[in-house]
């Protein structure tokens, strides 16, 4: 028989056989299996190693609370470390490998740590590895790092994709067990929009794992019937394989749908997972309960698991870890497991019940008032040692032990907004507190209602109350009262595991207390209790109980750590969704982009824009060749540059000029129609925010430009000024950045070129259309366009705007018509060179810390009017005589490099921060000057022109003698732009 521990019945599909491998061995399983259930059916209990001591481990649970059975699932770039075998859905060809072991799972060299455990107690590392100091990084830490960690990443890019999605509903029901199904039926039958999400691939929750009837049929059958009905209701959305990971503000829930994790590879075009943002008016948590273990010596061997999990494997998956099983319990739940297993033909070696009044059974021996005090078995369980009520001890051979310390309501999501659960004495468990996330209510076992009938009824009632509708009829089901007597750990145990993955034992908790780490937060942090991949779902409570006992307090007095999202760990890729690679941010293309591509342009990212950086010609080997050529050609004749990316904001209204007067530190009220003015905008703190131009197209109509980088922030600022500061001004704002393709046409032949495209009725002569003129014109036989005579390059220059869809054709036309002038397109590099040559400030100078005064525009700040930033711009720190001023800088030796980011020191003076004189903001090679030039902020720079200084850049290993100069390297009188 290929699956020796496969039982009869269960919810697996025996008609199909799936082949899979674990640790290199090939096994068979069935649809409906998890990796863990299939391995157990194949008599494999050893599935992993613990974090610190490398103890052999098998599954503790049958669900997402699993701490032990974690594996590396899949291979190659799809390898997923730390995957819980208990939730991994089996598919044909599944490959899994054990992790955190070497050379093999069965023979793990690092298991030596277990022998040394007495030295490796909680927090031991804080007390040693300190001498000599340099050895930490070199010796101790590398060893620790290598030993630590669990699974391994593939180190390859994740080949799968992830979607994000957004859903809205009246009611989100988290958990599709008895309570959740009834809640969804209640809401769905009333026509209310409801989402039912469950992390499992089959709805039903515990109903799938129990042998009890609901509405006169098997619980699993009732669940299937309910799901079938829900599927017909139009307002219901069923979301299996969907984990609600977090309850965030205002009813927003995160949910992860595993679309393709049960397949070898996602289907074409389909994501692996979807991260849903669910906007829920109301939310009903029906997340059930999680069984808690009992701590005893060596309680972590493969084969020792939660009694309820044992039952789940037998009833749902028709699998058992062994043919001879014992149960250790402090409540009736253990007996239920024993009865179910017995019914499946499993030999029950013993039920060891801590209660003296435990119920009897005809089918197996019950040891009343007894305890399991130790276990044996190297790689899996062979026997347990039992101490009877009378104190006698003996061994009971068994291949598996089911442990039940009772159940804890699964309150995880109730804590996500920092609500704290409260202690319920009757259940000896934490139940949801009062400060739940707004809109959330809790039903079923998650609320501490443990009977099946109670869960069904509370689910129906919960939905009914949340939505103000009538509850659906509840089917008959078991309604026996459930009580829990606490029993946390066996007296005198020491190496008894609480947090199995992180190897935190009872002894560690005691030591932590002894050393003064007495709050639950300190306990957690000092021992790492509850910080493993299972986040302590099965272990936290045991630690608290022991802490309480040592401190002589009750558990609620000790308090509890709170759960934080996500409910179960989520692939980082899922949070990123499609926003990765080239799609990380949207890409903005200029109107001439396709044309520039044809020209072989090299592009550069400028914010989200892609701009042509330069246009290499055949034979040009270095970018500088291309850029120098573009600069020279432009200055010699004419060049064209796409400057569409500058922000353009349409400002209209009777008060448009008054508005701009508030916005810019310089005056705009008197700007004539048909004229453009440079404007400097300050933040209210008096620092330069942005600069640009405002063109007055009509008395009540301006077009304002912003820098590319600041377009969004400036628009937002303008709306703030408009709506919040001057709400009664008649002014309207619209961003038109992308509506117009805008090209700078610069160079001595700019006018001649433009005259060939601008329709003849528009006079472009210097007299009719002088420097800083603007106007609405037509081009190429009647296309509406705008023309601004402004110059960033210092040459005779215009900016021509046409509707964006014609931008491509306009650029091609300018190139065609410009051929006779040897027109060149130029990119952002040449643009940068020419503006540095002219001493125009750009992003490197407008860096958010500089003032108008520092930029050499102190006199622009109007003293005659109020504008944003003027008052605070007068503070002493912004007006120091010896403050920074923008100047030009050039190397004494023209062959020397200078670099932006270099700092300036007095020639012959000390070189250190205390003697820093300023820094270079921008630098470029100027073909005109025949050397590199730069712009710099220098203390009292305007008074130091001609002074020789030393530029130092230790981080690029550069020291250069330089001279301060006027920032206007080219045509300082500005004759060219006025020509």
């Amino acid at each position: 028989m290929s699956q020796p521990n496969r039982l009869s019945g269960g919810l697996i599909d025996r008609s199909a056989e799936l082949s899979f491998s674990f640790a290199g061995e090939i096994y068979k399983g069935h649809p409906g299996d998890t990796l863990a259930s299939a391995l157990l059916a194949n008599d494999v209990r050893l599935m992993g190693r613990s974090f610190k001591y490398h103890r052999p481990r098998g599954p503790l649970a049958a669900g997402s609370e699993e701490p032990n059975a974690i594996v590396e699932l899949r291979s190659g770039a799809r390898r997923e470390p730390n995957t819980r075998a208990t939730t991994a859905e089996l598919y044909d060809g599944l490959v899994a490998e054990p992790q955190n072991c070497w050379p093999s799972l069965r023979l793990d060299a690092m298991a030596i740590n277990d022998k040394l455990s007495n030295f490796l107690t909680a927090g031991f590392y804080y007390k040693t590895f300190m001498w000599p100091a340099a050895f930490w990084e070199k010796l101790y830490e590398p060893i620790i790092r290598k030993a630590a960690g669990l699974g391994s990443l593939s180190m390859e890019e994740d080949p799968d994709t992830y979607d994000k999605g957004f859903l809205h509903c009246d009611l989100l029901v988290t958990g599709g067990g008895a309570a959740g199904l009834m809640a969804a039926l209640t809401a769905g039958r009333a026509g209310r929009s409801v989402i039912l999400a469950d992390e499992d691939f089959t709805f039903g929750g515990r109903l799938l794992a129990e042998r009890e009837s609901v509405g006169g049929m098997a619980g699993a059958d009732w669940a299937a019937q309910a799901v079938a009905e829900l599927a017909t209701l139009p307002s219901v959305r069923l979301m299996p394989r969907t984990t609600v990971i977090g309850a965030f503000d205002h009813g927003i829930h995160g949910a992860l749908e595993r679309v393709s994790d049960h397949l070898a590879v996602p289907a074409e075009g389909k994501p692996r997972q979807i991260l849903w943002r669910i906007y829920a008016e109301q939310s009903l948590l029906c997340a059930g309960a999680i069984e808690r273990p009992i701590a005893f010596e060596n309680n972590d061997r493969p084969g020792i698991m939660l009694a309820g999990a044992l039952r789940t494997y037998a009833n749902r998956y028709a699998a058992t870890p062994a043919r001879r099983v014992a149960i250790f319990t402090c409540n009736d739940n253990g007996h239920r497991s024993a009865a179910d297993l017995h019914a499946q033909g499993i030999e029950i070696a013993a039920v060891i019940d801590t209660r003296a009044d435990a119920p009897d059974s005809d089918n197996y021996p019950v040891h009343k008032g007894a305890q399991v005090i130790d276990s044996r078995g190297r790689l899996d369980l062979k026997s347990v040692r039992v101490r009877e009520a009378d104190g006698t001890e003996h061994m009971i051979p068994c291949g598996a032990l089911g442990v039940s310390g009772g159940w804890n309501p699964n309150v995880h999501l109730t804590c996500h907004q920092r609500g704290r659960p409260v202690w319920d004495d009757a259940l000896s468990a934490f139940v949801p507190g009062k400060d739940l996330p707004p809109g959330m209510t809790v039903a079923g076992a998650a609320r501490g209602i443990f009977s099946t009938h109670g869960a069904l009824a509370s689910g129906a009632d919960g939905a009914a109350e949340a939505l103000g509708i009538a509850a659906a009829d509840v089917p008959t089901a078991d309604d026996a009262p459930v009580s829990q007597t606490p029993f946390w750990y066996v007296e005198g145990c020491s190496r008894a595991w609480l947090d199995q993955q992180n190897d935190v034992t009872v002894k560690d908790v005691k030591l932590s207390h002894q050393e003064g780490f007495r709050s639950v937060e300190h306990l957690k942090r000092y021992t790492t209790l509850g910080m493993a991949t299972d986040q302590g779902k099965t272990s936290n409570i045991g630690g608290l109980a022991i802490m309480a006992e040592i401190a002589g307090k009750s558990i609620p007095e000790v308090g509890t750590t709170i759960f934080r999202p996500p409910y179960t760990p989520v692939a980082i890729g899922a949070f990123a969704g499609r926003m990765r690679g080239k799609e990380f941010h949207p890409t903005r293309l200029t109107p001439s982009h396709y044309w520039a591509e044809e020209r072989g342009a090299v592009f550069v990212e400028v914010g989200n824009w892609l701009r042509a950086q330069w246009f290499p010609l055949p034979g040009e080997k270095h970018w500088r060749e291309s850029v120098d050529r573009e600069v020279r050609a432009t200055r010699a004749s004419v060049g064209v540059c796409d400057c569409t990316t500058l922000g353009k904001i349409d400002v209209q209204g009777v008060d448009a000029a008054a508005f701009l007067n508030k916005l810019y530190c310089n005056g705009f009220a008197k700007l004539a129609v048909g004229k453009v003015r440079y404007g400097l905008m300050l933040r209210e703190d008096g620092i330069a925010m942005d600069d640009g131009t405002a063109a007055r197209l009509a008395e009540d109509h301006f077009v304002v430009t912003t820098t590319t980088a600041n377009a969004g922030r400036v628009y937002q600022h303008m709306e703030f000024v408009r709506q919040c500061l001057f709400p009664d001004m008649d002014v309207q704002l619209v961003s038109t950045t992308e509506a117009w393709a805008q090209y700078a046409v610069a160079g001595p032949n700019a006018r001649k070129l433009l005259q060939k495209v601008v329709d003849p009725e528009f006079d472009l002569s210097n007299e009719a259309f002088p420097f800083m003129a603007c106007g609405e014109i037509t081009v190429c036989g009647g296309l509406r366009a705008r023309l601004f005579r402004i110059s960033f390059s210092g040459e005779l220059a215009y900016e021509l705007a046409v509707p964006a869809r014609y931008g491509d054709a306009m650029m091609r036309r300018l190139m065609d018509e410009g051929a006779e002038f040897d027109v060149v397109p130029y990119g952002t590099e040449a643009l940068g060179v020419m503006r540095i040559e002219k001493g125009h400030a750009a992003g490197n100078e407008l860096n958010g810390t500089t003032t108008a005064l520092e930029l050499g525009m102190g006199r622009m700040v109007s003293t005659k009017k109020d504008s944003i930033g003027t008052v605070l711009s007068k503070r002493e720190g912004l007006n120091e005589e010896a403050g920074l001023r923008l100047v030009g800088v050039k190397p004494l030796n023209p062959a020397d490099r200078i670099t932006a980011g270099g700092h300036l020191m007095n020639a012959g003076g000390p070189v250190d921060a205390a003697h820093d004189q300023g820094y270079v903001t921008s630098a470029a090679y100027s073909p005109d000057m025949g050397s590199m030039i730069g712009l710099a902020f220098v203390k009292s720079g305007d008074a130091r022109l001609g002074e020789k200084m030393r530029l130092v850049s230790p981080v690029t290993d550069l020291t250069v003698d330089v001279e301060l100069a006027s920032a206007h390297f080219i045509d300082p009188e500005g004759g060219r732009q006025r020509a």
Binding site: D163, K164, F166, Q652, A739, V779, G782, L783, A804, A809
Partner: protein, 187 residues
């Protein structure tokens, strides 16, 4: 008539059409757009002009579907007007003439790329793209929201399996990629 040949926002001579399963995404360059912003003190007069033009004044989240001109609400006292490009390339000028001093009119035609998304499954597509509750939007609803950091308008047209999406023109390629990817994911 001028001599410049337009290209579409996606850079083609012809509009792009993508058909995936039962859904079709069509780039639509045939729309002229202009924003209308009422001037202070002229709000009612502005609305009167708008009503005269398209029959009603759409309120927040709504559009007035009308031929040849139509409009949707974009903000307090702000609307976006649309009309066929072939007949209304000068829409802004036409509106300026009509609205006079009651409104600020700004040409918006080429600020936007327009996509028409039609067919079975378009709600599922939108659910993968944006937070808007697309299933409760009815014909005539017009909302602005965000797809992958891109602000855009979505209008529910008539019939209801037709959505019109207006996104920033320079990002047409990114928006198109996002929509087509979502179409494939839900197909």
């Amino acid at each position: 008539m001028h001599s410049l040949t337009p290209i579409t926002a996606l850079g083609g001579a012809q509009p792009r059409i993508d058909t995936i399963a039962e859904m079709t995404l069509t780039e639509n360059p045939g729309l002229a757009l202009a924003s209308i912003a009422a001037r202070r003190g002229h709000e009612e007069a502005c609305k009167d002009h708008l009503r005269a033009l398209i029959g009603d004044v759409p309120g927040p989240g709504r559009s007035q579907l009308h031929d040849p001109e139509a409009a949707f609400w974009t903000g307090p006292d702000n609307w976006m007007a649309g009309a066929p490009f072939d007949t209304h390339e000068d829409l802004a000028a036409q509106l300026k003439a009509r609205f006079g001093e009651t409104a600020s009119i700004t040409e918006q035609t080429d600020a936007w790329v327009c996509f028409d998304l039609r067919g079975d499954g378009i709600e599922a597509v939108m659910e993968r793209l944006c937070a808007i509750d697309i299933r409760t939007m009815v014909t005539g609803d017009a909302q602005r929201t965000v797809i992958h950091h891109l602000g855009f308008f979505v209008l529910r047209r008539d019939p209801a399996d037709w959505l019109r999406i207006l996104g920033p023109r320079a990002s047409a390629g990114s928006l198109h990629h996002a929509i087509v990817t979502a179409m494939k994911a839900v197909a």
